[in-house]
Symmetry: C2
Subunit: 215 residues, 2 copies
């Protein structure tokens, strides 16, 4: 299957590489077609299935799109990707709306709205699924680095899109994928990131996740 | 030891009963000295260690105070309890700042502030420790209802107060108590409550909690 991965940071690179290793065709998208990080990524992969281009190129290439841009830049990056290139496609939003300009990690949107909802509203014909934003990218694609089952979540209005994303998450190694509900539930996983940040300080590592215990 | 428990709802009753059963002297406080729920609670306990009175009576009685009022009413209840009655005492804040007037469970404060911080600012001589707000009251006092270890958190500026609260939590049955940091970390556990609410829908029960997995 063809994937577009928007964003050349560590999240985009980690997910794009995982997809290539799973045998998928992946185009990494960025603002500039010749973004050095994207070029280096493709060279390192050394595979005809590892491509790069603009946000629009990557969105046009992919049947399924991962948004791996920073939350504060996501809406603009998706505008560059183009509504026509996202139309009818599954758009997996992994971003968190964090304002990194302060030490506080304030959210730029929360409580009454979320980035996931903003993206779904801005691109009503895309099938937005919020997922993976609750874990560090190393855990995203290698959840079995942890010694026991932990949970990952999907939020979105399109049940079939959530099923397709759940299948991808299983391919990534996730055993437990919890469907939280419609895209409004993006609020909960985005607001959780403040607790995630405290956990990171407590465990002094990025390698952790939560497990829902209900029995 | 003497405890004051502010609030006559299910959280206040559950915690007050647990403390009585642990052999503590407990006064349940409410707006009116003869609050029928407080009277009934004391009658049901049938113990000379189960008392009731006003918020001020309960705060004066307790060496340690639990705030178990609704988040939206907490600051006013604590004003009625009186700054002098809280001075130098450990004040365990279990409340969540939820606006129940909509189906959305919007928070009345979040991101840039929290109820825990508001209480600490309003009562600078109290030693505020945020805790237990991340679980249903049945789990609060019986964490071993769940089949495996889960986590509870403390947030506060006073290390000795957090140690004392951790000891109480161990008496309640908690094995793992995670110190998240200063009272500013109240934000994270209060913002988590939106995810808690989604979990409640997913598991269709109040009997659940999260476990931090970090190895």
């Amino acid at each position: 299957m063809k994937f577009g991965v928007l964003g050349t940071g560590v999240v985009g690179q980690t997910i794009a590489s995982k997809l290539v290793h799973l045998g998928q065709d992946v185009m990494m998208g960025s603002r500039d077609a010749g973004n050095p990080k994207a070029v280096e990524w493709a060279n390192n992969e050394g595979s005809p299935r590892a491509l790069y281009g603009t946000f629009a190129n990557a969105a046009a290439h992919g049947e399924i799109i991962f948004n791996c841009t920073l939350g504060a830049a996501s809406l603009e990056a998706l505008q560059q990707a183009g509504a026509d290139n996202l139309k009818g496609k599954i758009l997996i939003d992994t971003a968190n709306p964090i304002d990194y300009s302060t030490n506080e990690w304030l959210l730029t949107v929360c409580n009454t709205d979320s980035l996931g909802e903003q993206i779904q509203r801005a691109f009503p014909e895309a099938r937005v699924v919020k997922s993976l934003n609750t874990v560090n990218c190393n855990i995203m694609v290698e959840p079995n680095k942890l010694s026991e089952r932990t949970d990952v979540f999907v939020s979105g209005n399109d049940a079939d899109a959530k099923k397709a994303v759940t299948k991808i998450l299983h391919d990534f190694g996730w055993i437990s994928v919890i469907d939280l509900g419609d895209i409004i539930t993006s609020r909960s996983v985005e607001m959780y990131i403040v607790l995630w940040r405290n956990f990171r300080h407590v465990v002094n590592s990025y390698r952790f996740n939560i497990k829902l215990v209900s029995h």
